[in-house]
Every structure is written in C-alpha cells, then in structure tokens.
C-alpha cells in the first residue's frame, strides 16, 4: 500500500530540524550538536515510520497513553531530577515526561471530543469533561513548577473545543475571564490599569449585547469579568510575596536589575537587536560565543539565529513555522474523521503556542517561561515529541482518503 506523504510539511520540518542542529552547533561551541543530530535522525525516522502505523491504534491507545502520561508526571514529581525537577533519569537517558504528556493529552482530548457530536460539544457536560482532561496534566506540570508548559495544555484545548463545535460565544466566555486577569493586572498597566480594565469590561459587554441582545448573558459576562479582575487585583496586592512580585516585575521591566534575573532577557534582546538586518554571520555571534547569552543552545536558540543571521534569518525561521502551523491546521481540514482532525488541530495549536511564547520571550514580549523552541532548541525529548507530532500529522494526511 503506497502512502502519500505531505511533502511540504515534511520538507519544512526537515529544514527546521537541520537548521536547528546547525544553530545548536554554533550556539554551544561544543559537541552537543552531535547528540542533537543523532536525535534529529532518529526523530525524523520515527515521524515517517508513524505513517505506516494502523490508524486505529492511535485511537485505541489515546486513553491508555493519557493514563501513562499522567502516571509519568506523578512519578517525576516524586523521583524527578534536575532543578526544578522536570526529568526522569533512566540509566543515562534523561526524559522529560511533560513533553510526551502533551501529545498524550491532545490525543485523549481529540478522542473524547471526536466521540461527541458537534451538537454535544456545545453543551456544558462535554466542555467540562474536556477541560478536566486538560486541567489534570496542567496541575501536575504546574507543581514542578513549569508554568509555561502548564499553560500550553490550555492553549491546545481551546482551539480544539472551537474546532469540535463549541460556540464562539462560549469560547469567548471561557477566555474572557483570562483576558480580564491580563487587563486588570496592575504591574502590566500601572496607573492605567483601572482604565484599561474598565475599557475591556465595557467593550466586551457592549459587543456581546449588540451581538446577542440578551441582557442576562451580558450581565453574566460582566459579573464573571469583574470578579476575575477584582480577584487578580486583590491577590496581587495582598497575597504575593515580595520575591514573587519581583519575578513578575522583572519580566515587565528587565532593566531594573540588569545583573540579576533580568539578565537573560536583556542579553537576548541585545543579541537579536545587534544582529541587524543581515546578522553578524554564522558562528560570529559574540553574545553567544562569549557567553553573555545564557542557555544559548536551549531556550534562547532563536536569539542566536537573530544575532548571527539577522532580520532575514528571523523572518526565514518564522515563515517556516507559520507554514508548518498552517499545514497542521490544513491537515485538520482534510482528515477523514473527527478524531484525526481534532488531533491535527490540537498539535498545530500546541506548536503555534510554543513558537509564539518562546520567540516572544527572546524579544521581550513574553515572560521567561523555559518553553523550548520546537525543532530548534537543543533537547532530545522536545525534538522527539515534536517529530512524533509531525509523524501523526503525516499519518493523518496520508490516510485522508480512507474511510
């Protein structure tokens, strides 16, 4: 049986992975690129191999894998290594269970939502259960603590709910309180916080009222938003410890402690900015070579790209990512069943979230969370997971005509 491969996706991912190994070589100045290269070869092989796995298997394995994923997250909380403890050491192999748990969770949600009809998904029962499926790993990962990864589960869930049939209005209701938190967050807006928050409350209420013309809906939304905002303000003022506030303030104004916790962001911005339009040249980045930029080959690999290859290099990488994300979502539209379609959308959303948060971090529009840049950051678990996801997408594409 001959399978049709999504060559566009495969080529784009292969380019990203190759590019990643190359940049890890430049950023690390040591031999770590070899192990990354080995992982890359294995990962791409795995991705292609998955195409030939019978489709039914993924559907059947979705829940068991989810259970296994949750178990591994519990195990890492107890026996994890590293600081913070995010790794499981099996012999000389260090694995990050959270990476595999991402795929397992997306598979589980995809199966759960796929089993429901679109109409059912618009009801509260399905939504609550789907949210619970995501909240369990979120809570476990947040305990590590790894806030970035925890939030990424939510980032995958919401587009999947939308895709599965949840009404846009409900999606809005689900996300509005989160946005309330953001818009009422005093350190972010400082003196303007009450104005920004008030504007958001009024605008969202007016839009809903105009769209639905149902007063109780509008009032409910207003109540939910207001309480989310007020609780945020209250917590910020009364419950956060000094160092916790400091950590958040550092994200918002890294220059306030140039030698302390703001160092990474400042050095990353200097690296990217000093790259200019065309960069300092491959292997010529002084920010990474002279170790001003910490974690250059892991979390801040994009800074190395920006420094050595400039705006041109940044655009190239972002274009590849946008193409891959589009391709993921596109595969979702051609899938031959709801499970496969949702799986594609979930994986694509997860990827988009990672890219946005990681790149945003390196240029100072997102906080430092420790989320790796897919395909590019050094790290076997992350690379393997992302290629697994690509494998699943290739599989869905290859099987799109089967019923």
């Amino acid at each position: 049986m001959r399978r049709e491969l999504d060559l566009g996706l495969l080529v784009a991912v292969a380019m990203l992975v190759t590019f990643g190994v190359t940049m890890v070589y430049s950023a690390s100045g040591s031999d770590v690129w070899r192990s990354q290269g080995l992982y890359a070869v294995i990962s791409v092989f795995v991705a292609v191999a998955i195409v030939y796995v019978p489709e039914k298997l993924f559907y059947d394995l979705a829940y068991p894998l989810y259970g296994l994923g949750m178990l591994s997250l519990v195990v890492v909380l107890v026996w994890g290594t590293g600081n913070p403890a995010r790794w499981l050491a099996i012999g000389s192999l260090r694995l990050q269970p959270a990476e595999f748990a991402k795929i397992a969770t997306i598979m589980a949600i995809a199966r759960f939502l796929g089993d429901q009809s679109s109409e059912r998904v618009s009801g509260p029962r399905a939504i609550v259960l789907a949210v619970l499926l995501a909240v369990l790993p979120m809570g476990l990962v947040a305990r590590q603590p790894d806030l970035g990864t925890a939030v990424s589960f939510g980032a995958a869930l919401i587009p999947m709910l939308y895709w599965a049939g949840m009404r846009p209005l409900h999606v809005f209701f689900l996300t509005a309180p989160m946005l309330s938190v953001v818009f009422s967050f005093e350190p972010l807006w400082q003196d303007q916080a009450p104005i920004v928050f008030a504007l958001f409350i009024i605008l969202s209420s007016v839009i809903i009222q105009l769209l639905l013309a149902r007063l109780w809906v509008t009032l409910t939304l207003l109540g939910v938003n207001l309480s989310a905002g007020l609780v945020t303000t209250y917590l910020w003022a009364n419950f956060l410890r000094g160092y916790q506030k400091a950590r958040i303030m550092t994200f918002l104004n890294p220059e306030s402690d140039a030698l302390g916790s703001g160092w990474n962001i400042i050095q990353s911005k200097i690296a990217i900015g000093s790259g200019g339009p065309t960069g300092k040249g491959f292997l010529q980045g002084t920010q990474s070579k002279y170790e001003f930029l910490p974690a250059a080959h892991t979390d801040f690999i994009f800074s190395v790209i920006g420094e050595e290859l400039g705006f041109v290099g940044s655009i190239f990488v972002l274009s590849l990512f946008l193409f891959v994300i589009w391709r993921c979502l596109y595969v979702g539209t051609v899938a031959n069943n709801r499970f496969a379609s949702l799986l594609a959308v979930g994986l694509g959303s997860m990827l988009a979230f990672h890219v946005f948060v990681n790149v945003g971090m390196t240029i100072g529009v997102m906080p430092v969370t420790g989320l790796p840049l897919p395909f590019l950051s050094y790290g076997g678990s992350s690379l393997l997971t992302n290629c697994l996801a690509v494998g699943l997408l290739l599989h869905i594409y290859a099987h799109r005509h089967e019923y």
Binding site: I270, I272, F292, G310, L329, T333, I363
Partner: protein, 589 residues
C-alpha cells in the same frame, strides 16, 4: 467526510490562521523594531559587552641622582580584581577568596564598573592562590599595575616624599583628572613635580567574554593610544654624599645635613635624621607602621633641613663681622676692649666660653676662638639696625625658595620692632642675636646658603634640586675685601692654633668653616658646623646641625668633614673614570 463538515472546518481554519497571523505579526513588528529600527543601539550594547576599555597606566617618571643612580622607580604590583556578577555571586567569590587567603576582604560601593579591585599590592602567595586555585571557578582576576619603589628607602625619603591614593578630590593640575585609587605625590619632589612625573595614560581595548576572559588582545588597533611615560627627574643630589652624611650623623640624635654646590645652589645632599622608609606609604598592609611614624615623638617625618627652626649659635657671627667691616667699625688688625670672660650690658651679664677671658683679640682671632664678648663689643657699636640689615641680605628670615616644599620655614630674624611688639627692646637682645641666640631661628638650608655666599664671593644662591640653576644674586654692599677678611677668619677656625673647627680638616684640601654651640629648647646644646671647600674656589658649602649634639667643633665638624670628603672622593672618581675611559678607548683603537 461530510461536505458540510469540511466546509465548517475550512471556515474554522481561516479563523485560527487569522489568529496565528495576528500573533506572528506581533513577533514580526517587534523583530523589525529590534533588528532594523534600533539595531544600532543594540549593536553598541553588544560591543559594550564584549569590548573592555582598559586604561594603560603611564609609568611614572624615574627620579635619578646627579650620577644617574635611580632613587625612585616602578615595580610590578599585583591586585586581585572581582568581575562583577550578581550580588550573590559577588559575595560567594569574595567568601572564596577570604577562605583561601585567610584575610578579610571588603567590597566597596557598587559602581557601574564591571571589575572591582578587592585587594591591592598583594603578596606573591596570594597571587599564586588566585591564579592556580580560584580563577577558574570564581570571577576573580589578577591585575598588574606599576607601583612606586624607593630603592634607597629612608636615605632619600624627605627629599623624594612619597605617593598616596587619590580618593576624593579627583582634579589634577592642568585639568587632568585622576581616577579614584590613582597614586599621586603627597609630599616632597613626588608632589612638586607630580604633573611631569605622572605622564599621560593610554587607552587599550580587549575583547572579552562574560567572565572578562580575554578572547582577543587588540580588537581596535586604530582606536588605541599608547601611554606616554612620565618625564624622568634628574636631581642635583648625590646619593653617595647623602649616604656619607647619614652615616656620619650620630644615630641616636636628631639632625640635619645640607650640602650645596657653593657656586650655584644645587643641593648635593639634604639629610634629615631620623628618617622613615617611604615604601611604607605606597605598600599595602603597612597601616600600623604609617600610624607609628606619624605619632613618633622623634618626628621622623619632619624634614629638619627646611622645616626645622634652630638658633644658629656662633655660626652666625660672620654676619656681625661683615657688618662691622663694611661700616668701618673694625678692621683685621684692630683689637677691642679685652675679653674678660664676661660683659655687663644693662642688668644682664653676658659670658664668654672662656670664663677667664680671651684678652685682647682682633676679628680673626675672635672668630678663631669664637669669643662672644668680642662680638658683643662689635654689636654695641653696630646697633640692631645695621646688624639686621646684613643678616637679611644673607637671606635670613625668608624662605630660600627651594623647589621642594611650599611649607619651607622662613625662620625668624628679629629686629627692634619684633622685640618691641613682644617683650620690649633692650640692647641685651642684640647681644644674644649677634651670637646666634635669643629669638633668632634658622633652618640648616638657610645656613648652607649663607656659608656658600661667604665662600663664593658674596653671591646668594637659590637652593634647588633639579634643572638649571637660578642665577646667583650678588649681595649688595658687601665688598670683596670684607669677604676676604671673613673668609680668612673662617680659615683660622679650621687651621688656627686655637681654632674650634680643627676636626673638619681634610687631607689635601683647604677649607674654611665655623662652629656653633647653640642653646636651644633642649637640655643639651645643639651642635652646628658650617663650612665651604676648597678654600680658594669653593665648590661645596655644608651646614651640619645635631640637636642636643653639644659642642659644634667637637661633634658637628667631623660630620662636615665626612660630607666634604665624600664630595671630593666622588669628584676624583669621576675624573679618574673619565681618564680611564679615555685610555681604554685609545688602547682599543
């Protein structure tokens, strides 16, 4: 799938892609801002990161004696530096250094500098500890800087002075600022010639990594500027004479020796005893020693040659001789009323050294035996005004203008007014002044200049330590004939049968001098001797003072001899060396 479902998915794809597009647009705009709009600012910051500007300290000019012997030079000193990181890493590095060296380290205020000097001028074992054990693990580094060193130590300390760290006022002469921690001349020649000794610092650049490890030595050769070393300072001092003077002075007593070139005022030796090691002031960890020096009751820091005021005793008598000869009060052969051992002036009885009386004396004889009564008689006729006039012409009561200390003492040359304002005028004051007692105070340097003028034909020289000699000034109203008689009287002090200064005699060279035994504030008299040599054409003028030294002829004259001997030995050696080199040159060709 259902066409309806497919259509729904396609619609949702557009929605999600719009959202993704918006998010990516945010990234794109931000990247455009960083890499295009403000790229230059970040390029500058990136350069600031990796390029360290380094001040290339200009080596301070050397100080040499007149034969080229190095009196002040620079040695390498090692400092321990901290490359600043976070507050915690700084503290950890300092703790590691403290533990390894067993010494406490203080970190000053946090400035903007990336490196902070923790310990200056550390010992070699400390350098080894940091280099071998600490540097790889902690952000510590060793820096070499030039540090002043005075090879002759205490021998030249009062002349050369010493350096100290500049801390608060960082302005320099000519608007050339200092950086906190720079060494600047605090006293002596180091201070006087600071501007020409310090040189011009240069600028260098290093390409470094985050721990200030050097990656590349000269990233911008065009932007670098080499330091210009300070100008060397060649002195008129001769360390051999200086050494001879120190050795000749009694170790237990304070004293001073000044030796001038009698012709032009070049200072050949300027000794103040007790002395101190100036290296104590430039080396670290000598705080206690410095404190001890400053509090020492023997005042080793005081430069007695120019800052000590003493009654000159009989060495001053030649002023009266000059005044009397010039005003016709006496001549060489005339004698005065005989010395009976004492003289009553008003209510006070003045006594001579010889209690039985010297009998009748002329000026030459009176100087030879240093008869007080003779000079009292002279002074009675002269009067205070004439005496004061001549004393002032020989430079007493005024600074000599030596290029060493702004705090040079003027001494005191009292006149009638001086006493009227204090204790009222009586002729008895003049009786004291004429024999160098009473309120009269002089510095040894003033005495050396005075005796040089007596020897060199009446020229008042300006004592100086370097450079061209300021032209000597002929003292007005002092004739050659007068000076000839005074010189002869001083000759007899050394060679006369009853001369008080016989101990100053040198084999093979004629000289003239005058002893003094002055009653100062101390229990024992101060011993003085002033002299010049050779007698016919004086080259060297010497003033010796020993606080509480007793008789000048007995105790100060031998010191003068030692100093002059050293001078003539040095001259002979230079002459012999010239001949030697000549001969060798001829032999070689």
């Amino acid at each position: 799938m259902d066409p309806e479902v497919l259509e729904d998915w396609a619609r949702k794809l557009r929605g999600l892609m719009t959202l993704a597009g918006l998010l990516f647009a945010i990234l794109l705009l931000r990247l455009f801002h960083l890499q295009i709009t403000t790229a230059d600012d970040y390029a500058k910051e990136s350069e600031d990161n990796r390029i360290t500007q380094k001040r290339l300290k200009a080596p301070r000019g050397l100080i040499l004696d007149r034969d080229g012997e190095v009196i002040a030079r620079n040695r390498a000193a090692y400092s321990i530096q901290l490359i600043r990181g976070s507050r915690e890493s700084d503290a950890q590095a300092i703790a590691a250094l403290e533990e390894a060296t067993g010494e406490s380290v203080k970190l000053g205020k946090r400035g903007r500098e990336r490196t902070v000097r923790l310990k200056r001028d550390v010992s070699f074992p400390t350098v080894a500890i940091v280099e071998e054990r600490l540097r790889d693990e902690w952000p510590l580094d060793v820096e070499i800087e030039p540090q002043r060193f005075y090879p002759f130590g205490a021998l030249t300390s009062h002349l050369i002075g010493y350096l100290g760290e500049k801390q608060d006022d960082l302005t320099g002469p000519g608007g050339r600022p200092y950086i906190a921690g720079d060494y600047v001349g605090q006293t002596g020649l180091e201070r006087v010639y600071e501007d020409s000794l310090r040189g011009w610092d240069g600028v260098g650049y290093l390409e470094v990594d985050v721990r200030e490890r050097v990656i590349k030595e000269h990233p911008f050769p065009d932007r670098e500027r080499a330091p210009r070393p300070g100008r060397d300072l060649k002195l008129t001092i001769d360390v051999d004479i200086q050494l001879a003077a120190v050795n000749a002075l009694p170790d237990s007593l304070a004293g001073s020796v000044v030796a001038l070139d009698a012709r032009n005022g070049a200072i050949l030796a300027l000794v103040s005893h007790p002395s101190f090691d100036p290296n104590v002031f430039v080396s670290y960890g000598s705080q206690a020693e410095r404190q001890r020096l400053i509090q020492d009751p023997r005042k080793p820091m005081l430069n007695r040659g120019i800052q000590g005021g003493y009654p000159p005793g009989s060495t001053l008598k030649m002023i009266a001789s000059v005044a009397a000869l010039e005003s016709g009060v006496t001549d060489t052969l005339s004698t005065f009323a005989a010395c009976a051992g004492s003289l009553q002036v008003g209510d006070v009885v003045f006594r001579c050294l010889n209690r039985d009386g010297h009998g009748e004396l002329n000026l030459l004889e009176a100087t030879e035996v240093s008869c007080n009564i003779y000079f009292n008689h002279l002074a009675q006729i002269l009067g205070i005004e004439a005496w004061h006039d001549y004393a002032a012409r020989f430079g007493f009561g005024a600074p000599t203008g030596v290029d060493l200390e702004p705090s040079e003492l003027s001494g005191i040359l009292p006149d009638r007014r001086y006493h009227q304002e204090r204790d009222g005028w009586v002729t008895g004051h003049l009786m004291n002044l004429v024999i160098g007692q009473g309120a009269m105070l002089v510095t040894p340097l003033q005495m050396a200049r005075y005796v040089a003028a007596l020897g060199n034909g009446g020229y008042l020289v300006t004592p100086h330590l370097q450079g061209d000699a300021p032209p000597p000034v002929r003292i007005e109203g002092v004739s050659d004939a007068t000076l000839d008689i005074v010189r002869r009287s001083m000759y007899r002090v050394v060679y006369g049968d009853h001369g008080t200064g016989k101990r100053a005699q040198i084999e093979g060279i004629l000289l003239a001098g005058k002893s003094g035994t002055a009653q100062g504030p101390r229990a024992d008299d101060d011993a003085w001797f002033v002299s010049f040599a050779p007698y016919d054409e004086p080259e060297i003028a010497v003033a010796i003072l020993i606080e509480g030294g007793g008789g000048g002829g007995t105790h100060a004259a031998p010191v003068a001899r030692a100093v002059m001997e050293a001078y003539f030995l040095d001259q002979a050696r230079h002459g012999a060396m010239a001949v030697d080199l000549d001969g060798r040159h001829r032999g070689g060709s």
